[in-house]
Amino acid sequence: MREKVVRWEVVLLLLCGAVFAFGSSGTPGFADAGNIAFLLQDFAEVALLAMALLPIVLTGEIDLSVASILGFCSALIGVLWDAGVPFETIVPLALVAGAVLGSVNAALVVWFGLPALAVTIGTLGLYRGLAYGVLGDGAVTGFPENYRPFATDAIPGTFLPYTMIPVLLVGLLAALVVHHTPVGRSLYAIGLGEQTARFSGIRVHRVKFALFVVSGVLCAVASLIYTLRYNSARADNAAGMELIAVTAVLLGGVSIFGGRGTVLGVASALLLMAGLRNVLFLDDVTNEVQNVINGLLLIVSVLVPVAANTLRGRRRPRLG
């Protein structure tokens, strides 16, 4: 697996370099501290969702309900804030809500042995519906000015937004756990063959359960950032964001069949997508065209590894 000519992460980083070089030379307003800060900030929530998805996809499962969990938590934050609950109380409650929604996914996948794809397509709709259930069609605003800067401002003395702190922490933690611990190795083992993993003593159910719960909590963290950043809690917050997160994970070189992928790859993909989106915006490329580009990126990222394997005369990646 490791004797590739060029590692995919290197390709992505080169592409990142190309986008940022193109942006800096050909697009006025790109190479500007304020713009780079915005570019990073605009992808903070997506990055958290992608980091939630990464270990799940490594085990060969998926969680498509991430953006809906974000939406539900945002709606919940809105309702609680509107009811006069202190923000300091809302934060842990939102995290618990995320964990609970993640546990529901986990229970359905692990205890009932249902396919995660089907379960989380179901909860994608269900959680979004519940979000409208708790908040309705309205919006809640006026979040506290003493906390909002954490979602909107830069760390004093730098151009880095505060939101990079949780994003980088989560990214580093993910890299540490996935690449340097027995739990991380077990993710790859499960992805390459669940039966084998189980027979070699990996507690597959427990690992998977934990992954979905962690995913729910990360979505709740993203919902706090999103809600404070836009100063607006709505049930439709981040609708459709799961597709961008899934694209980042797959473009990052994580195999949709499980068992292959790195945190560095996903991080590079996130940076590439954030940079590309920003350059396209600055060049007045319309949203429709951007959607087409995102869709193509997704297909290419699934196609390239398969095509590369075929070219090398190997068999296609095994399913499960």
Binding site: P28, G29, F30, D32, G34, N35, F38, D42, W81, D82, G84, V85, P86, F87, E88, T89, I90, V91, P92, L93, L95, V96, V110, W111, G136, D137, G138, A139, T141, G142, P144, E145, N146, Y147, R148, T152, H205, R206, F209, A210, V213, Y226, R229, Y230, N231, S232, R234, D236, N237, A238, A239, R277, N278, F281, L282, D284, T286, N287, E288, N291
Partner: protein, 358 residues
């Protein structure tokens, strides 16, 4: 599958956090901000004789780029900017969600536009980005749908909101003979303009002369053709004795008219609201709709374009009482809270609809 001991620990930790938070934290009431009215570009003074900035760059940011009303409006705005020898352009999202306009605002700031003219999807979600734009010296004008007042300098309003709301009720009242159940088909639940009009509609309904009218439901079509169509169907089926529908949005009224025209309710349930003559012509001619109203959206955009250029050139700052020239619309004065008003809406019916093309 997860040990109950660890669950208990986590639950305990969360409970502790909740309790800590509960003792004197930041609540809605304690942090209720003092919403300042109308930002007037503090520290700036108006110079009415300043020349229009050469090649002034004005960007128009609609709610969404697929909305025909918004497109007509922004074309009018670009026309005004072109008259002033500036550069006008329209960019915007393809969905009307709260957050989608924010990326565009950042983009326009980075492109060093001189002015941004925006129809806000969510008055609060865009406010921080707009304030940031103003802090960087970019003139901000809202048009059609306002943002938080401290996040823009001038709001170009169609007509007096009160007059729009009240006239909608007078229109529907005349069409249903002053009696019966009516419903409203609105756009998104957070659309500032819609909600203001609906408030005035409710106020008008409370008057004794409209005692026979009963507002039974406000439905939301989200300015989406298909959803508005379905909401109309749902209204008619769930309220069998419905007499009239008011849809104060061009997307809503045309979707509702399309459903009505091919349903058994055609001619029996009155439909009125705000629509463009081109969209509604066939439904007026086939008898589905008797009369509806609108101002000319391209004039609205035209006025906003002139206001934006005047702001960007320092002729005005957005303070009450300042005057600026708005091309063929003559001289306009900024009213309270930075509002500039286009004028009363026009009512269209079978008699005059062919005189209009927009």
């Amino acid at each position: 599958m997860i040990r109950s001991a660890s669950v208990t620990k986590v639950a305990g930790a969360v409970l502790a956090l909740v309790l800590v938070g509960a003792c004197g934290g930041t609540t809605k009431d304690s942090s209720a901000g003092t919403a300042a009215g109308g930002s007037t570009g503090v520290g700036r003074t108006a110079d009415p004789d300043a020349p229009i900035k050469e090649g002034v760059k004005v960007a128009f940011l609609p709610k969404e780029v697929d909305n025909p009303y918004e497109i007509i409006m922004d074309k009018g705005g670009i026309e005004a900017v072109t008259e002033l020898k500036g550069e006008g352009k329209e960019v915007g999202p393809s969905d009307a969600s709260a957050s989608s306009q924010v990326s565009y605002i950042n983009t326009l700031v980075q492109q060093r536009q001189d002015a941004i003219v925006i129809a806000a999807n969510d008055p609060n979600a865009v406010a921080p980005a707009l304030k940031d734009a103003m802090a960087k010296g970019i003139a901000v004008v809202t048009v059609d749908s306002d943002a938080a007042p401290d996040a823009r300098q001038v709001f170009v309003n169609q007509a007096d909101s009160e007059e729009i709301g009240r006239s909608q009720i007078r229109l529907v009242s005349a069409q249903v003979g002053g009696r019966g159940k009516i419903a409203i088909l609105s756009a998104t639940p957070n659309a500032t303009n819609q909600n203001t009009w609906i408030e005035f509609m409710k106020d008008e309904l409370a008057k004794p002369e409209h005692a026979g009218l009963e507002l039974v439901k406000v439905a939301y079509g989200d300015d989406d053709d298909q959803k508005s169509f379905q909401e109309t169907q749902a209204l008619l089926q769930s309220i069998p004795d419905l007499k009239g529908i008011v849809s104060p949005t061009t997307v809503g009224i045309s979707a509702a008219a399309r459903y009505l025209s091919s349903s058994p309710y055609k001619g029996k349930v009155a439909l009125t609201g705000l629509g463009t003559p081109n969209q509604m012509r066939q439904f007026v001619k086939d008898g589905t709709v008797t009369a509806f109203a609108l101002w000319d959206p391209s004039e609205l955009g035209y006025l906003a374009g002139h206001a934006a250029a005047a702001l960007a050139s320092g002729r005005i700052t957005g303070a009450e009482g300042e005057k600026f020239s708005a091309g063929r619309l003559g001289e306009r004065t900024i009213g309270a809270k930075g509002e500039v008003i286009l004028g009363p809406p026009t009512t269209f019916d079978a008699g005059n609809i062919d005189e209009f093309d927009f």
